[in-house]
């Protein structure tokens, strides 16, 4: 900042130059605290609309609360009767801590606390009240150094300039370049820098050791936060979802996140969408009925994956089915979809059906050890994004499944998108054939996924004849038949066999989806 015309006020013990430099620091402080104050407000508003959805309401209520809290702070300032400077410094240190950690803290607390709004508004109130204390205190501190006319003009000018700086920096620079968590820390550091600068300027006039220690500790914690911001970002993955998160939990196997916007409930595993209640019936009808409809007597059914129980729901609709065996890695997943009323409603209580047996096991190991004979096998694993998942699409794995498939049995495999990843999609068919089965691809349109592919396989040729029960929402005999037609952009092409020791599918999947997502 350039030269400021300041007049040394009466009654100052210090010499004029020191008083002048203090005044400069104080006026710079106005600019800094104004910028910081607005940044915290913007952070809270943005975060609330990220996490809770409905951005108009969130922004409006957060800003309203914040401004109201500032009013509370201003009113409270009347109770500060002496040592305005000391109180101001401590307020700065407190704001630095609360404001600096606000974004990180809200992200981290989000999945952990029962009522997030309570935490959010408590924090907004606290920061707002502290910020509200700043300007009245500063005016009182500066009142002897400026004429009243200049004082009001200077303070309000810097306050509003700070607000402009903040409102431009926030969307254009800070969020895109630093991210919300780092932005919080940066401005926390600015607040604590104000406190430290004042303490240094005042070092001759007062005891500052305690305040300096507190300021340095806050600085250290903010610097730590900056350094670990990437990790914090990863842990606080709620920022990642476009819809409000209603449940988030880490199991030893995966991160389970449920989101809901209106009547659209979505399940994400490790950030990958598993279903949306808007159209999951399309996916699960297409997964299940082409298999069941081709088996004369589907007594025993095996489902590999599908811990959400939605495929099981379709299977259990078929009265011919005597018993369903479901193998899913994650006990937390099957527990959640069995015990949560909201979720077990989605699968019609499939996981607690007397006809159901759930095994929580690694399917790769399970099929190798399993005995028995299944009339229908439904394989619904996550896409082969990883080598570990790729093992569940290999010739070796399908040979084990073929051993468990009855001579007249039919199986199906969810096989990724034939439109986005045609080579990957057809690799599944090639691999099933290499395992000694006859394979046949089909596909369905599921809006939340796009064009999606499945592969039927059996010991004998997979026939056209199919029994589609009436009353389904998506499948009819005619739409079932249409699923087997592949236009040229999805047509079969030669592919390698996916083997344990080449993981051809994981490689082609990464290439094709990578190209698709650009």
């Amino acid at each position: 900042m350039a030269e400021m015309e300041v007049s040394a006020g009466p009654g100052d013990g210090a010499d004029g130059r020191a008083a002048g430099s203090l005044a400069v620091i104080l006026l710079v402080s106005v600019l800094v605290v104004a910028t910081c104050g607005l940044i915290y407000e913007l952070l809270a508003g943005t975060l609330a609309s990220y996490l809770l959805g409905d951005s108009v309401t969130q922004f409006s209520t957060v800003i309203g609360t914040y401004l109201f809290a500032m009013g509370v702070g201003s009113w409270l300032s009347r109770h500060v009767r002496r040592d305005e400077m000391g109180v101001f410094v401590r307020v700065e240190i407190l704001i630095a801590m609360l404001g600096g950690w606000s974004a990180a803290g809200l992200f981290l607390l989000f999945p952990l606390v029962g009522d997030f709004r309570l935490v959010l508004y408590a924090l907004v109130l606290a920061i707002g009240a502290l910020v509200g204390l700043e300007i009245p205190l500063l005016i009182r501190i500066l009142r002897h150094r400026f004429a009243f006319r200049e004082l009001v003009s200077n303070v309000l000018t810097y306050d509003y300039v700070g607000a402009l700086i903040a409102s431009l920096l926030f969307p254009l620079v800070l969020v895109p370049w630093l991210g919300m968590i780092r932005t919080g820390f940066v401005f926390g550091l600015a607040n604590v820098a104000v406190a430290l600068a004042l303490l240094v300027a005042l070092r001759r006039q007062r005891r500052i050791a305690g305040d300096v220690l507190a300021a340095l500790m806050v600085t250290a914690s903010l610097v730590c936060g900056m350094v670990f911001a990437d990790r914090l970002q990863r842990w606080s993955e709620v920022a990642f979802y476009a819809e409000p998160v209603i449940y988030a939990r880490s199991t030893p196997y995966q991160r389970i996140v449920l989101t809901r916007r209106g009547n659209d409930l979505r399940l994400y595993l490790n950030g990958n969408l598993q279903f949306s209640t808007r159209d999951e019936y399309r996916y699960h009808e297409a997964l299940v009925w082409p298999v069941l409809g081709r088996v004369a007597s589907p007594r025993a059914v095996l489902i590999l994956g599908g811990g959400d129980g939605l495929a099981a729901r379709e299977v259990l609709k078929d009265a011919r089915v005597g018993h369903v065996t479901l193998v899913d890695l994650d006990p937390e997943m099957t527990r959640l979809f069995r015990d949560s009323p909201q979720l077990s409603q989605l699968n019609a209580g499939a996981l607690s059906s007397p006809r159901m047996t759930v095994h929580n096991a690694d399917a790769f190991r399970w099929v190798r050890a399993a005995k028995g004979s299944y009339d229908a096998v439904i394989i619904d694993f996550p896409d082969p994004t990883e080598f570990s998942l790729g093992k569940l699409y290999t010739e070796t794995f399908y040979r084990e499944v073929a051993r468990l498939l009855a001579p007249d049995g039919v199986m199906t495999v969810q096989s990724t998108s034939p439109l986005v990843a045609p080579a990957s999609y057809w690799t599944v068919a090639t691999t099933l054939e290499s395992a000694g089965l006859r394979a046949r691809g089909y596909h369905a349109y599921v809006p939340s996924f796009g064009e999606w592919g499945f592969t039927l396989a059996a010991h004998r040729a997979v026939e056209d004849a199919v029994h589609v029960p009436p009353g389904l929402r998506f499948l009819t005999p005619a739409s079932e038949r249409a699923m087997f037609d592949f236009p040229p952009d999805m047509a079969r092409r030669p592919t390698p066999v996916n083997r344990l020791d080449n993981q051809a599918l994981v490689r082609s999947f990464a290439r094709e989806w990578g190209q698709y997502e650009g």
């Binding site: 981290l108 607390l109 999945p111 952990l112 730590c224 670990f228 990790r231 914090l232 990863r234 842990w235 993955e237 990642f240 880490s250 030893p252 196997y253 995966q254 991160r255 994400y268 490790n270 950030g271 990958n272 969408l273 598993q274 279903f275 996916y283 890695l329 690694d362 399917a363 790769f364 190991r365 190798r368 619904d380 694993f381 996550p382 896409d383 994004t385 990883e386 080598f387 570990s388 998942l389 790729g390 093992k391 569940l392 290999t394 010739e395 070796t396 969810q414 939340s448 996924f449 796009g450 999606w452 083997r499 344990l500 020791d501 080449n502 993981q503 994981v506 989806w513 990578g514 997502e517």
Partner: protein, 539 residues
């Protein structure tokens, strides 16, 4: 299913993890574990004497195999394969398997030493017959034998931590200047031509077993200089290439390129022509317990002939030269007895054999690399930036050889507990010095070293380490130093005649399963010939 909403990885965590990250690194609680190794006490008894005199009558036997490592077990397997059962195998340790032994805990079996076998070459007929018998080769394809996919190392086989990112393979693929890439290419080209080179005797320049390699001086002359000198002479000096080659030398020989014969250094790259269907020729066979799978299968085949916890401590040729006297000590009852055998196979490292049968064999200039192997039990799988966990995980920034994942073969669950086997050849110091350092370090010191190295590669393992079991191999590998092809002590041992034969990878000078197996099979067949038994030659 389904749609990958974004490439961004989303990880688990919460405030507890945050606290651990901010506070971590300072407080180090002691880690559970054991410090173990080959039985020093029994080993040093051989060096220092002190076995009681044999008692009781001298027992007349046909064949004694002294040593139950891979070579001794392979001798036994070969004899059993020919229908011959009249032999006894004595092993000093409580368990057979030698360097291929393994451990086991509630999480997984894990190797203590040797842990994989590359798909054998066409010339390794005996080994292939054994793998077929053990169900590891399951049939024949058009292009060669078909291997059981559960036993071939699953993809991803190797990943390398290079400049903070894990990437596939063992040589950096990114961020290298073009001269570095050119050196790598030149080296690869040179190895490719060695791989197909045939000597003037019609044999491949480099073979496995190495005894089947060409004797053409064009190639054997490479034994006259070190690998490093050979590379220098070819101006293959790019640091990335040299670091990679150093890794390879230490991995296979426990020694530096500056110590290893150029013939041996090239052999590593030029001798592998694995023969298999389905393009599996360049793959490896591996098991959670490492090569103990093979050792155990061999031992099971000859279980009634095995005598563990028995030290053969003296072998001499009888005056008529037709038999050999074998003194053996039973550690269980602390008694010794004497056998007279028509054939004794000394299936042990040469430095041990030279103490047991000093008149029949001299120690020569053999030196052995000491290794430390740590098995680290972790409550969750390692992760890392870049390509996901492989079977073998190596860091360019580490002096260790990295770690292999014991459960790589058996599961598809990428989380959960596993055992990481961490390998460290003490190749920088002279072997004698290194052995001393190895023995003076405490369990805690080794654990601290392992932990620091592992955390450097995988900081994500913070808080996941459950135990670190350290295993020390004083004489883990024979070092193929220049001149090893023509070492007279080795030559003499190879040419030894019944009643005393030698069988060990020391005779090859390369500490490889295939070499030990070949030497064992050869000794077995020479035994069968000596006893006048009919058999079909495998080796």
């Amino acid at each position: 299913m389904k749609v990958d909403a974004s490439r961004r990885e989303v990880l688990a965590g919460g405030s507890a993890a945050l606290g651990a990250a901010l506070l971590g690194g300072c407080a180090q609680t002691p880690v559970a574990g054991t410090l173990d190794g080959a039985d020093w006490r029994r080993g040093h008894l051989l060096r220092d004497g002190g076995f009681p005199e044999p008692e009781g009558p001298v027992e007349e036997v046909d064949v004694v195999i002294a040593g139950g490592g891979i070579a001794g077990l392979a001798t036994g397997w070969r004899l059993a394969e020919a229908g011959f059962a009249n032999f006894t195998l004595f092993e000093l340790e409580d368990r057979t398997g030698g360097n291929a032994r393994s451990g086991r805990n509630s999480v997984s079996a894990y190797p203590l030493g040797a842990h994989y076998l590359p798909v054998p070459n066409r010339e390794a007929g005996a080994l292939r017959q054994m793998l077929r018998g053990f169900g590891i080769i399951t049939g024949d394809g058009a292009a060669g034998p078909v291997y059981d996919p559960y036993q071939l190392c699953a993809d991803l086989e190797e990943r390398l931590l290079w400049r903070g990112q894990w990437q596939e393979g063992l040589f950096p693929q990114t961020g290298l200047a073009s001269p570095e890439r050119a050196d790598y290419k030149a080296f690869e080209d040179a190895m490719a031509s060695f791989r197909v080179a045939i000597g003037n005797d019609g044999r491949p320049a480099f073979a496995i077993p190495m005894a089947l390699s060409s004797r053409d001086p064009r190639f054997t002359a490479l034994d006259g200089l070190t690998f490093a000198a050979w590379l220098d002479a070819r101006e293959l000096t790019a640091p990335a290439l040299r670091a990679y080659l150093r890794y390879c030398c230490r991995d296979d020989y426990g020694a530096e390129p500056e110590h290893v014969s150029a013939w041996a250094g090239i052999h590593y790259f030029a001798a592998r022509r694995g023969w298999a269907a389905n393009g599996d020729g360049d793959r490896e066979l591996t098991w959670p317990e490492g090569n103990d799978r093979l050792a155990t299968l061999m031992a099971r085949r000859i279980s009634s002939q095995l005598r563990p916890a028995h030290s053969v401590f003296r072998v001499v040729r009888s005056p008529d030269g037709n038999t050999a006297e074998v003194d053996v000590h039973d550690h269980a009852n602390a008694r010794s007895r004497r056998l007279r055998a028509k054939v004794v196979i000394m299936a042990m490292p040469h430095f041990v054999a030279s103490r047991i049968a000093p008149e029949l064999c001299d120690a020569g200039a053999f030196s052995y690399a000491p290794w430390v192997v740590a098995n680290v039990t972790v409550s969750r799988h390692p992760e890392g930036k870049g390509v996901s966990l492989a079977w073998d995980n190596v860091s360019t920034a580490s002096n260790s050889l990295g770690y292999v994942v014991a459960t790589h073969q058996s599961a598809s669950d990428p989380t959960g507990p596993t055992v990481l086997t961490w390998y460290y050849p003490m190749s920088k110091e002279a072997p004698q010095t290194a052995r001393k350092i190895m023995l003076t370090r405490s369990l805690e010191q080794w654990q601290a070293l392992v932990l620091r190295d592992l955390m450097g590669m995988n900081p994500d393992l913070e808080g996941a380490i459950e135990r670190i079991d350290v295993w020390r191999w004083g004489h883990a590998m024979i070092r193929p130093t220049p001149g090893f092809l023509t070492d007279p002590a080795r030559q003499r041992a190879r040419e030894s005649q019944p009643p005393v034969l030698f069988a060990h990878s020391d005779l090859s000078g390369l500490s490889l399963f295939e070499e030990a197996h070949y030497r064992g099979v050869t000794a077995g067949e020479r035994t069968l010939s000596h006893l006048g038994l009919a058999y079909e030659r495998l080796a």
